[in-house]
Amino acid sequence: MTIETEWLSYDVIVVGSGGAGAQAASAAAELGASVLLVSKDPLGASDTKISEGLATVRESGSDDDIEEVLSENIKLAGGDLPIKKLTDTFSKYSKEAYDKYREHGLRPSINKSKNRPQSLPLAMGGHNRNRSVGHENHGVAFGHANWDAIIKEKNIDYLEDAWFLDLVVDRNNKSTNPVIIGGLIYDASKGVLLAINSPSVIIASGGLSTLFFPKTDTMRGNTGDSYAIALRAGADLVDMEQLQFLPFCLASPPSYEGLLAGEPSTASYLGVLRDKNGKIILNGVHLRTRAACSEAIMRAVEDGRGSPNGGAFLDMTANKELPKSGPYFMKYLQDSLPTAYINARQALGKEAAKVEVAWEVRPGAHYMMGGIRVNDDGASVGGDDEGSVKHGISGLFAAGQAMGGLFGANRLGSTSLTELAVFGSRAGAAAAKYSLNNSFKVNKKLFESYINEYSSLFGQKGSIASNILRDDIQKESWKKIGPVRTAKGIKEMEDKIKEIETKLNNISIPNYFIWNQAFMDFVELKNMICSAKLIGLAAKERNGSIGGHVRLDAKNISIFSRPYSTVVHKNNNTYLVKKLNRTRTPLKNLIYYKILEKKRLLEARFLSMLPKNIKDKKLEKKYKDIMSASGKAPEIMPGGTEGAIGETTSV
């Protein structure tokens, strides 16, 4: 028996029902396009829903927050890798896109005197203005808004439990670039393949952190689908080595493994990292970049001095012990990153919650800064420099974590929720216009090879289960292309991938069609393999450390060298990797950032050498300064630069 194929036609397909997908579908429907939104997870269950719920809204905190200021801020934070056109677009449309969210029910606190959303009372580290708006219920509030945006629009048909398998592309017309003609979907609840004729597809299906499971604090569904689908269709992928790891995730007990426990700044003034022998492996933790913390932990592990569960010990007890400032520290720890503190308390127990003992921590995969190469409409581009749609794939769009080029090597806190609002709605509108304004010819014949490929998988005989290989690739990815990398490790990962690929046709997939877990696991495994390849190829091309890419065997890339991005592309079965030069920020700004960095580290060293009672007094004052009149410490954003003050300097 063969799985049946049903045929449908839409103007726009949106893949993913998180923030980017919901905004894209909503914008496309508003312009009158018929939209099919597909999601493998239940509607709206995405990284957006489980996020901290802070969004960057320009001018929410000060009147002088002009477009140029925010745009340059993002570009500098990203190590000069971000494309200016994209940071400009982000900056220009942040308010408008945020208001779309409010139309769908997101309700921030309002600053009555200024008649605008209330921003947090401080510039989150790295941001040069107050412009981060927090929300009650964190990401869950965004989850409701996404749900509402999709449900209320009759023009949007949606499918959950539906795996978007591949884009169907027409490459036959030699005079044009490849053109999207639709996509193939596995509808697991109905047990059929869906062949969809559609001139445009928006990829908004998130990141790839599950490639490193269980070392992640994000959704299980992040199996790199976005990147793999785009790569197979022939799209360019940019900056794929730039994956953000959070250094302080829980290493045990198993149920909590990978969940966030803290950020460098929550280690506070006297936090240090220790190896299993109690030796300090990194001091001044609160001023370090995430990469530096991850590197210290992973070097100890490589050297056999790691903690029992493959990490190191985050020792914050010196903060707690001081009689006057200690209580302030505890308040700061609990307030500044509440979800992380709760995770740690539940996982590590009472003594740890009181910071009487050190916490065992290990890095966890968090956010992919790279992704599908797009322009300011989220449309696929190729070619040199910023790229052009003439060299991209016509009809392909991307938004949210799926897209690349906006954040470069690092990301300011609270920007990802704004990214998906800005580029989700722009991609939705652009895709709708593209579909409604261009003639489209259905070509069922081109679907045949895709349908045959996937339908023949049902009933595949074999002796291996996908999830055994999945566990294998997750473990190896962590070691070889994870928080720290070497040329040797990257090469070993390539070999590992080849070995796993030879086993793919020996995977057993039973021949039933409704919710075939083995089939879905197989599809996800293939996407994870593809993502691992992308990271490996980009990581090989960038032979020095910058931002989310840490090489143990090579130097840091100097901030004074010419910034470049990596691009990976697949043509037939050959992978092509290249560098693209980016424009450099003026020299005087770079020097200024360098001086600030040195000054902060010197101050920290001076403080730690003071006699105990003086240190205590000084710290008490510092805490009082941080905490507002209410005595509450401001919340910070996991992944944001305020969580790793050192990163404000890593231009």
Binding site: D41, E103, I468, Y512
Partner: protein, 244 residues
């Protein structure tokens, strides 16, 4: 079987092609004194015994709301529900099973399709009342469907059995409501940007979904602790008292 403190014996109910099978599974603790969550048990069972065991999960931190299963016939969020020796893990009984511990969920959301209540063009800079945020804390885990008489009307007052050929078509959206849908409607009614007309639309929708079932019902239980009775059901019943 001898009692081993390094392991736990649980029963996992699998469902394939309409056939229910109870699989006895021994969970091996990965650390001394480990108190595993139901999700840990399912993951280990999948990697060791039932390679294609079907279950949902997402964030592992009780935020995404997708991993709800029944433990000893009561709905629990699997990533934060500890398992004891002898526990039974099965799909939630209130929705039709697709496979093993996976149920079809979309019939719930679909019953709200096309419901537009927000007035466009209003001033967006208005604070929402506290109750709006209370209701927004719902993670959509569907634990509240348990024992809901309104929801059971969809399945002729019985629990949906997978081998029943008369199940309503989820693709059309279930006709009868549930506490989650009522929460969404009450949330809209508490949104300061919803017009009076929109509030009426929401209330009438609640009545259409079968709000009358709530009159005699002792109340529903939320998976994340929202006071459904006082914050959702009572206000709706009060507003609808002349229409029921």
């Amino acid at each position: 079987m001898t009692k081993n403190t390094n392991s736990l014996n649980v029963n996992i109910v699998t469902v394939r092609d309409g056939k229910e099978t109870t699989v006895a599974f021994t969970y091996n603790k990965r650390a001394e004194k480990e108190k595993p969550m139901a999700l840990d048990v399912l993951m280990q069972a999948q990697s060791e015994v039932i390679p294609d065991l079907a279950f949902r999960y997402g964030c592992r931190a009780r935020n995404c709301g997708v991993c709800t299963i029944d433990i000893n016939d009561r709905p629990r969020v699997a990533c934060r529900a500890r398992v004891k020796d002898g526990d039974k893990l099965s799909a939630i009984a209130t929705l039709p099973v697709l496979s093993d511990l996976v149920v079809r969920r979309d019939g719930i959301a679909r019953q709200m399709r096309g419901l537009k209540t927000s007035a466009q063009g209003n001033d967006l800079n208005v604070d929402a009342p506290e109750v709006y945020h209370d209701l927004t804390s719902c993670i959509e885990c569907y634990a509240c469907l348990d024992k809901c008489p309104m929801h059971m009307r969809n399945f002729a007052d019985k629990l949906p059995k997978y081998n029943d050929n008369n199940l309503p078509n989820a693709s059309e959206g279930y006709i009868h409501g549930n506490p989650f849908s009522l929460l969404k409607l009450e949330r809209l009614r508490n949104d300061p940007l919803t017009s009076d007309q929109g509030k009426n639309i929401a209330l009438n929708k609640a009545i259409d979904l079968g709000l009358d079932a709530c009159v005699e019902c002792p109340g529903c239980k939320c998976g994340v602790g929202i006071d459904l009775k006082n914050k959702v059901i009572k206000p709706l019943l009060k507003a609808a008292k002349d229409k029921l």
